[in-house]
Amino acid sequence: MPALPKELLEKVAATKVLVVGAGGIGCELLKNLVLTGFADIEVIDLDIIDVSNLNRQFLFHKQHVGKSKAAVATESVLSFCPTANIKHHHNSIMSPEFGVSFFKQFSLVLNALDNRAARNHVNRLCLAAEVPLVESGSAGYLGQVSVIKRGVTECYECTPKPAARSYPGCTIRNTPSEPIHCIVWAKHLFNQLFGEADIDEDVSPDMADPEAQQKNGQEDGAVDQPAANGDAPQTNNSSSNAERMSTRKWAIDNNYDPKTLFNKLFNEDIRYLLSMSNLWKKRTPPIALNYDSLPDEHPGSSSSSSASSARGHAGSGIKDQVVWTPMTCRDEFDHAVATLRDQLSKKEDGHVLVWDKDDETAVHFVTACANLRAYVFGIPLKSLFDVKSMAGNIIPAIATTNACVAGMIVMEALKIVDGRIDATRSVFISRLPNPRGKILVDQIPDKPNPKCYVCSEKSEVFVKLNTNAFTVKQLEDKILKQTLNMVAPDVELADGSGTIIISSEEGETTALQDKTLAELKVVDGSRLQCDDYMQNFELSLIIIHCQDFKDGIDFIIITDIADLKPKEADEEMPKEEEDVECVVASEVMPPETVGLKKRRTADSDGPDTKRARISDQMGD
């Protein structure tokens, strides 16, 4: 049976196509493309091959581990069709050289990405270059494909995606109740000790916890802040490098002695928390640990052997699925701290460690710390295998789903090549058949959202923040980059003065970055013209001053002014998770469901796999 009608086959052969990503979907897609007759392909991927890719990225074999995905994928797929012309880039699609003119070379862009930042970026470039884009994602048994064409279908950013789940600072620092709280804390601790310390990632007891203070203020300030922040005086949330450096400095001053660190983290700080007695009126109080007398068995069990068999998965034969006892956690902590200290000392001045789920020591450190903290608070302990899933935001993946998704991408691509954009569909793979017996469910793509700040003519975004506290640097990092997904923003005050407050040129506005917005005359009602030259993207940011924010939230983005009126009170703080599970897995963007609350806080601690599965129900 012939493959494609002759005219279509000719169009296919003449289409220059860009494949963004040579991972799970990318490998399958490249195979499908050359077999279908696409002969002019460029592929880009910044990643190198890891052993855990080999269960699905079938263009790679064991001997390729450590090599460039884009290069090896090209070499392998050429053996299926030696006449195809495939060019590869071992690079990030977000690098400046891949601007609008690069995208304009292609008649079609196919995404096979695994993260939202790159998806946003490619979306903007395809809109700017007016090149049709096929977007895709997969997570476990779920997958989806959609077509994005400027002015015809909705773009990737037409409906705000729910932000990754974040947790209130006081839950993390004072009153954890679930394993994930301890894991987030442990990752923060890693950064405080060895990585890039972030002011929002403090790990010491939080005195400002409103719950601790609410009654008569008797706890408040009654006890000196513990040594958590070293010698530095306790300061408010709004400060400052001095405080940020102090945890690190304290650890360095003590030469990262594991026992000293242990005592501070799991004993002194815990005793301090116990002194905030308001916190423990309704909760089980934590127990301060003694370095020298930790049990070598699991909490609540009589013998360690029965514990490990009860807690390991059924028939478990792999060591990472065995839950460590508190004593093992301490030993692992000692070992990891010593190793990380050495790694850090070998770095050049000013360079720090970056937490990585594939770095064994880093994962051991987080597993040990999270479990010790869990033990302190009477929370169930987790195996390294499970901690790695949650801390590393690992999305389970299989070849079969990716193969289906790649097939669906090519089906949509063929319609685009054939000039039948109206025939394109969004297609979802759901876990269970819908009432009509379908696992693959397709729908007509939505029209562009006329209020979308990315693809509509008028790009306006309102932001509510405290102009007296919010700094220019925070505006750049938290709002423009992390929330509005710009890469290299330039910002000008649109009051006729032409004052530039943020420049994408290195060093040009460094002097301004620690100033508050109010100091630069950015006040209630101010309009900022924000421009990302690389993305060919601009928007107006309108400032709404708001003095009071509650824990963990320091700004709110409003993309539709109509949202500002009715439920202002609710906007202040997203309630503890409503029953809606609205977390996006990084390889999949679940179809938008009704009732999702917009989340504004960005946090890298993403969804765990369990939640990724929930998007299941969104599939049909």
Partner: protein, 302 residues
């Protein structure tokens, strides 16, 4: 009533090694270690190394079996270049299973690959007994029917699949299939107390406790699968049956039935007029409304 075949308990079989745990990490996180162990102890027969067969072989190899037997008596043809990526381009004219061996092995060196160049019809019942799963790709209707009966007799699970241009089908006969579903539910105990405790309407607090009370229950389900002949020989001309079909059955079912019917005619099966006629006959036999069909007999004749 036949015995339910419970998979061998993992104690009597080999468990995966640490190396395999690293290789299969992303899928163990999806289907669990026990499922991975079962895969590791499974022998699968795959008959028909067409393009679809190559896809199936790839996915089975990557999943991590004990062994995969590739069976095909046909040779690699020019047409295989459109989809059969396991047979290198310079193997045209060679046996298709043999030609696919090397690339199949490279997909996962931990899985044993066995090649069988016999025709499916030459294999008698005993041959199938050693497999845990039999997959038939693009095979003839009668052969699928015959092998399905054998598999049912020996309690072997079976799949069949076929691709015909833009159409295709997948069929599974997992016999009496038991599986366990994890269901999240609230534990009944203490839930009243929780509400009293949080009577002040302290939202976050109440929610958190509820989550803590949540339990995972394991619910066992059983599905009885239909045999190939039962699935293919429903009398759709009977009143009422068709109404049900319209709600839950893809229109492609009837197209596939007519394609399989046309295939019975052997070498003529790919002639457009043969397929067109078979489809027209199917429409009449099932009393379908030709106007409602997206696929017209003429479509095959172009």
């Amino acid at each position: 009533m036949k015995m339910v075949q419970t998979e061998e308990p993992t104690t009597t079989t080999e468990s995966i090694t640490e190396d395999e745990a690293a290789l299969y990490d992303r899928q163990i996180r999806l289907w669990g270690l026990e499922a991975q162990n079962r895969l590791r102890n499974s022998s699968v027969l795959l008959v028909g190394l067409s393009g679809a067969g190559a896809e199936i072989a790839k996915n089975l190899m990557l999943a991590g079996l004990k062994s995969l037997t590739l069976m095909d008596h046909n040779n690699v043809s020019e047409g295989d270049r459109d989809a059969q990526f396991l047979a290198p381009v310079d193997t045209i004219g060679q046996n298709r299973a043999e030609a696919s061996r090397l690339r199949t092995e490279q997909l996962n060196p931990m899985v044993q690959v066995i090649v069988d160049t016999d025709a499916l019809e030459s294999k008698d019942a005993d041959f199938f007994e050693k497999f845990n799963l039999v997959c038939l790709v693009n095979q003839a209707y009668e052969q699928i029917e015959r092998v399905n009966e054998i598999c049912r007799k020996f309690n072997i699970k079976m799949c069949a699949a076929g691709v015909y241009g833009w159409f295709g089908y997948g069929f599974s006969d997992l016999l009496e299939h038991e599986f366990i579903d994890e269901v999240k539910m609230l534990a009944p105990s203490n839930s009243n107390e929780v509400h009293v405790l949080d009577g002040k309407g302290d939202g976050p607090e109440a929610k958190k406790r509820k989550v803590d009370e949540e339990e995972t229950a394991m619910i066992k389900h059983t599905i009885d699968f239909s045999s190939w002949s039962d699935a293919m020989n429903v009398d759709w001309s009977r009143k009422g049956t068709l109404g049900k079909a319209k709600r839950s059955l893809t229109p492609a079912y009837f197209v596939i039935r007519s394609l399989l019917e046309a295939q019975k005619l052997g070498d003529n099966a790919t002639l457009p007029e043969v397929i067109g006629k078979a489809w027209k006959d199917e429409v009449e036999r099932c009393k379908l409304d030709l106007e409602e069909q997206k696929c017209k007999p003429e479509d095959f004749m172009k």
